[in-house]
């Protein structure tokens, strides 16, 4: 039977592992945007490459 709805992303925010009280993610108004902060552009600090100095 033909599907009418196709799943592209399945609750990635809800499924993300939460590291309770971690608070490591940075402030989103970084220099790349300086006039418009956007939390959705953040990458989880814990998942970033260790020692990486770029964003």
């Amino acid at each position: 039977m033909k599907k009418h709805i196709r799943v592209i992303l399945d609750s990635p925010i809800a499924k993300k592992e939460e590291i309770e009280k971690c608070q490591e993610c940075q402030t989103p108004c970084r220099s790349a945007c300086k006039t418009s902060m956007t939390v959705g552009n953040l990458v989880c600090e814990v998942k970033k490459s260790v020692g990486k100095w770029t964003w």
């Binding site: 039977m1 599907k3 009418h4 709805i5 196709r6 799943v7 592209i8 992303l9 399945d10 609750s11 990635p12 925010i13 809800a14 993300k16 592992e17 939460e18 590291i19 309770e20 009280k21 971690c22 608070q23 490591e24 993610c25 940075q26 402030t27 989103p28 108004c29 970084r30 220099s31 790349a32 945007c33 300086k34 006039t35 418009s36 902060m37 956007t38 939390v39 959705g40 552009n41 953040l42 990458v43 989880c44 600090e45 998942k47 020692g51 100095w53 770029t54 964003w55």
Partner: protein, 432 residues
Amino acid sequence: MDLVTRDWHLFSIRGEHFLFNSLGSLYQLDEEARSAMDTLYRGGPLDISEDVYGEIEEILSSYKPLEIYEPEDLRLKSLCLNVSHSCNMSCSYCFATHNLSYRMSLMPLEIACRAIDFLIDSSKDIKNIEIDFFGGEPLLNLEVVKNATIYGKTRALNSGKNLRFTLTTNGLLLDSKTLDLLDELEISIVLSLDGGEDTHNKFRRLLNGGGSFKTILPNAKELAERRQDGGYYIRGTYTAETLNFSDSFKKFVDFGFRYISLEPVVTNDPKLSIREEHLPVLRAEYQKIAEECLSRDVKFFHFELPMEEGACLPRLARGCGAGVEYMAVTPSGELYPCHQFVGYEGFKLGDLYTGHIDESLRKQFLRLNSIDSKEACNNCWVRYLCGGGCLANNYIMSKNITEPYSTGCEIQKMRIEYALWLRAKKSLEVKV
């Protein structure tokens, strides 16, 4: 079947229909499903086939709102150091104009080091912290940038911190020798360039009134050539007089830039300000950029939504951190909630000399950093990707930090729609 409209968003781009929910699910709908969802949105009676009904019911019932952990307090983790309130340019839309050359124009090394100590001490158990060298033009105070970075790296090493650095520059002084130093110090760079020569020179002018494009472009190209794997953004501003910013984007790509951001100006100047009537034009411009991103190996900052690798929900439910997680330091050591509040005396948070912090103001910003504190945001589908908007923009546009800058909200929603559309297109490409 009930639909909580604040948690779901139905949108169409180029004849393709999508449904997004605030916890990150994205669905592509055929015309029959879209029509049914549209009816649900409007609260009308559903007259649809059983199979469509079943599919819609399945996705709506799969959504369960989550309880979000909200910390009682937050730690400082990022400082913007205005190392220079002088500038070698005179850009007509600059929000920092009222700060330039007031009081002390260049930050002494002692203040910069004191700021780094303040950040390291205040961050307590937080490991990842940031310093952004800003201005004015920070390269006018390069010696302090260099020595403060060396000091910060040593302090971070001894404190078990991971301290990252960024420098935002107009690019005039970013010659090869300076780039060598910034490469060696591992400082990420944001270079301001508005577009091609005519667009850029329209507002970004030298102190003598001349255009700055021809001096900056070779520096920007060298930066991009050296840092092909990241560590820079070319960042432009568009205004009501330069709305064709997709042309700037295409020029940037042709210049060889891979990491690009283009931002709306936020100003009350009626000639430059982005207004509601501009939104259809902006939509068309963002669409052109999104289409370009499909076929070119470039990253447009606002279309980068790392949904799986992104921040967790407690972080997404908070704002920019201004005044709490993030502060700006003036050359004389005064503290403000962010770089855009610098110079507005009513928003002075304290200073590094006495260590005094206005706790009442800090707590006001702590409260405003929570999505729950803002009714308009709490009822918006994009709240976990936006974070609640920019308090400084609210203040600039209405002199009220709690009143959302509505045109900015619409631009944000528009950008997120195109980011999701891009995500869908790329996801379908992979599946094929």
